[in-house]
């Protein structure tokens, strides 16, 4: 069996031959039951479409007004990176870097990786499950957490409700849409890996459900 025709379970190390999945199907590890891959109901180009959408939205999310807050006539406009800047100026530079990385740079890089993988799949270029794209995607997905930042902003809105007048800006909506696009693209990525490998090898043995 060539390395390209195998998929190892990342939790138990069990090797599997690659199978072609139907729409909405998942492939489970035969030993530990972990979901190895799933085929999106939305079609084979889902990862590509949503990763490009996310990339397009990432720029306005970063540079348009995120929220504005007013108190006693004074209005303060905040962008996505205003908080990062405040932490940096306040001497908490490591924290500023962490927020910048997890909130924008890593999600943006992950979207680039997913878009590249989607393009390769579209062009019928095989993607090695143990190759650079798959590995970098697995590393980045742990640290790309824009959905947590969205929740944090929503919590802040509720908390600030009685203290200042908060108005949501277009940057926040773009950021929310980017986070959703990233989640959908991430969930569709394994499909592309499998689809590409299936085309390359045409073998099958993971347990579909």
């Amino acid at each position: 069996m060539s390395p390209n025709s195998r998929l190892s379970c990342r939790y138990c190390g069990q090797d599997h031959r690659i199978v072609g999945l139907q729409s909405g199907e998942k492939a489970h590890c035969v030993r530990c039951g972990t979901v190895l891959a799933q085929r999106s109901r939305l079609g084979p180009d889902t990862a590509l479409v949503f990763s490009i959408t996310g990339l397009v939205l990432a720029l306005p999310a970063a540079f348009l007004t995120f929220v504005s807050a007013g108190k006693l006539g004074a209005v303060r406009i905040s962008l996505l990176f205003t908080g990062v800047g405040s932490l940096w100026d306040g001497g908490m530079r490591s924290l500023a870097v962490l927020v910048f990385l997890c909130g924008w740079l890593i999600p943006f890089t992950l979207l680039c990786v997913l878009a590249t993988a989607g393009c390769r799949s579209r062009l019928s270029i095989a993607i090695d499950p143990a190759g650079f794209l798959s590995r970098s995607s697995r590393v980045l997905e742990h640290w790309a957490i824009p959905e947590v930042q969205v929740l944090a902003v929503l919590v802040a809105f509720m908390k600030l409700g009685s203290v200042v007048n908060v108005t949501i800006g277009p940057g926040f909506w773009c950021y929310c849409a980017m986070a959703v696009s990233l989640l959908i693209a991430q969930h569709s990525f394994d499909l592309d890996t499998l689809a590409a490998c299936t085309r390359a090898t045409g073998a099958g043995s993971a347990r579909p459900s």
Partner: protein
């Protein structure tokens, strides 16, 4: 073959143990030091994670208090305890139920990211609420310790390789 496996298991375990221990130590300053201070109309109040949750509860924002308590107190503690449990099981030769341990690991891996909520919240409030003497929010040193806990627990989970639970079975099959 056995030597390779035991060396691999030791590296995975020792790195995860060191990171998990560091996270457990950092939990102390993260919970004792103030994470945010609010200056409003001349009065200055500093809140730790727990006192912030209590304040939200007193204001009647129960759902919010519950979300912050879960993300900032329950999940980090659960991750440290869960990781310790997995490490103890990995020390055994052949674990009794590797499938259950693998599921626990996958759950810990998934929930870890939600602890970043308080870090993002502090960064957002620090950037937005800056109205001079009327109202200003400033992050305090506790949030740095808390961010360290989150990063260390995420690194510890990443360093721990759940395949150690299955390798004794692989070796016995060979």
């Amino acid at each position: 073959m056995k030597r390779i496996f035991s060396s691999f298991r030791f590296q995975s375990r020792s790195t995860a143990s060191a990171l998990g221990l560091a996270a457990a130590i950092m939990l102390i300053p993260a919970n004792l030091l103030p994470v945010l201070s609010t200056e409003s109309s001349g009065s200055n109040t500093s809140n730790t994670i727990v006192s912030g949750v209590i304040e939200l509860w007193r204001q009647g924002l129960w759902a919010l208090a519950l979300i912050v308590f879960t993300a900032s107190v329950v999940i980090p503690v659960l991750k440290v305890l869960g990781l310790s449990w997995l490490l103890l099981n990995a020390r055994r030769g052949v674990p009794r139920d590797p499938q259950r341990l693998t599921r626990i690991y996958a759950a810990l891996d998934f929930i870890g990211r939600w602890s970043m909520l308080d870090v993002f919240l502090a960064a957002f409030l620090a950037g937005l609420v800056r109205f001079g003497e009327f109202s200003t929010v400033t992050p305090r040193s506790g949030i740095v310790a808390f961010a360290a806990v989150v990063v260390l627990t995420m690194l510890a989970t990443k360093a721990f390789d759940p395949r150690v639970f299955w390798q004794p079975l692989d070796v016995s099959q060979q």
